[in-house]
């Protein structure tokens, strides 16, 4: 069985790694005068799998855009292994060892699967063929599709390619934005299993997930955002049992159902 089913095992006890990523008091927005993020802080330690959950519009995707340098925060700092990231070009941030898989538009649709992998491999450095082989070992489904345009892939294959494109850089920290969004249920299982495997092989992961239950079950720790602020953070298990979390999503629905 996969890691998700382990009760209170390694998953819930956070690895005691060093602090890898520290985001402090991030304020950001797109339109002048409107702050989507109103002071968010979070920490990710070496080896952890950390989830950020929260209702739609809580600012989760914006937070990742700020992290990756696509949106400059109005306030706050982001340190990755001691280096300040704010102000760096996205390509420089990637070069430091972060790799990001956006929720949508996460592959280059007019390039073939192989080309998608090749351009990422070229960024990563020499040895492209070996790197691509390694990714194909992780996602064997992509092997048959190498010559197809990425735009023709199914949702699940596309997600695999997007993760493969990110992993080919051999990142220290993998950042995922809703990896299960829009996928059929069996695909969701496959994707989450891959994520758990990748984490077990030593890659630190920070992800946003709408499927809060599944995400928290497999995470070491989780953060809940609401209205652009930190609402709760705790271990994955504890958050799952926290009535406040359910309330944030569904008002009082689920509680009454439990009652």
């Amino acid at each position: 069985m996969n890691a998700v089913d382990q009760q209170d095992g390694a998953r819930t006890g956070a690895p005691a790694g060093a602090e890898m990523l520290v985001m402090e008091d991030i304020v950001a927005g797109y339109v002048p005068g409107v702050d989507i993020l109103q002071g968010v802080s979070l920490t990710v330690r070496q080896g952890e799998l950390v989830s950020i959950i929260g209702p739609n519009g809580a600012g989760k995707s914006t937070l990742l855009k700020v992290l990756m340098g696509l949106l400059r925060p109005r306030r706050g700092s982001i340190r990755f292994q001691g280096r300040e990231l704010v102000g760096l070009k996205p390509s420089a941030i990637v070069a430091l060892g972060l790799s990001y898989v956006p929720q949508v538009r996460n592959v280059f649709p007019n390039l073939t699967v192989r080309e998608n992998l090749e351009i990422a491999a070229a960024v990563a450095g020499p040895g492209a063929p070996q790197r691509i082989q390694r990714i194909l070992d992780i996602f064997p489904d992509l092997r048959d599709k190498l010559r197809s345009k990425a735009g023709t892939l199914s949702g699940g294959q596309r997600q695999m390619l997007a993760m493969g494109r990110a992993l080919i850089l051999e990142p220290k920290l993998l950042v995922l934005d809703e990896p299960s969004a829009g996928l059929a249920p069996q695909m969701v299982n496959a994707v989450f299993q891959k994520i758990a495997e990748i984490n077990e092989q030593g890659c630190t992961i920070l992800m946003i997930e709408q499927n809060a239950r599944r995400a928290l079950e497999m995470s070491h720790r989780g953060y809940v955002l609401d209205m652009g602020r930190n609402a709760v953070d705790d271990t994955g298990r504890a958050l799952l049992e926290n009535p406040r979390v359910v309330e944030l999503y569904l008002g009082k629905i689920a509680q009454q159902q439990d009652a």
């Binding site: 996205p90 007019n110 080309e115 998608n116 351009i119 735009g151």
Partner: protein
Amino acid sequence: MLQYVANGIVVGAIIAVAAIGLTLVYSILRLTNFAHGDFVTLGAYTALFINLGLGWRPAAALPVAFVVGAALAILLELLVWRKMRQMRASMVALIVASIGVALALRNLLVFFYGPSPQNFQQPVQRATPFLGLPVTMTADQQFALVASVVLVLAVHALLRYTTLGKTMRALSDNTDLAWVSGIDVDRVVTWTWIIGGGLAAVGGVLYGMTRPLYPELGWHLLLPLFAAIILGGIGHPYGAIAGGFLIGIVQEVSVYFGVPVEYKIAVGFVAMIVALLLFPRGLFGEASYR
């Protein structure tokens, strides 16, 4: 008739070479560059400068023209476009600025060479049968055709087989994703300008081999260029190539059907309007994924 088609293929090939740069710049920078035609003129005049000054044949000026066009494109990228991109300038502001560049460039040539048409200085050429077909071409026309086809194939190879080319295509798909994939977008944009500006200038040299040079040469070519890239689906290099040949042939063949020579540009324009109305995304536009 066949002769007109042949002429059209020569013009079309040259249009294709110049149009590739226009469409690449558009797809990667979202810039509708009205100064592109003047890069074509610049290339032609660079060859004229070398031809008159050093006595070289125009064909020998091709690499120099490429370098001049590329250098100017880089200069403008650094001085103007990068800053406007960072400011997230509107499409209309970008168009107006590119018209400013076009006016300045064109009149720089007027300043040095005057407005009247000029020709390369070389022995008069006789049109000879081409490849045993029942059509005739001058040596320069033949050279222009062959060179254009070679360049088009070279661009194809670049886009298809090199990392740079693949990265450029990636950029036209999604700039943000390119950034977070670790690609230094600014660097690739600079390369796009080198190729786009260089090819436009080279196209100008080839174009100048087939007709007299005058400062509006490239401006008058711009409409057929736009027609070509719109026909091909704006932003698609292969569409631009196909559109270029199509426009070239339609323009020349229209003469055969009795349309006065002066209306060639109008024919290209009408073809473009028809294309826009019938295929708002271009003839080859449907192959794109989002």
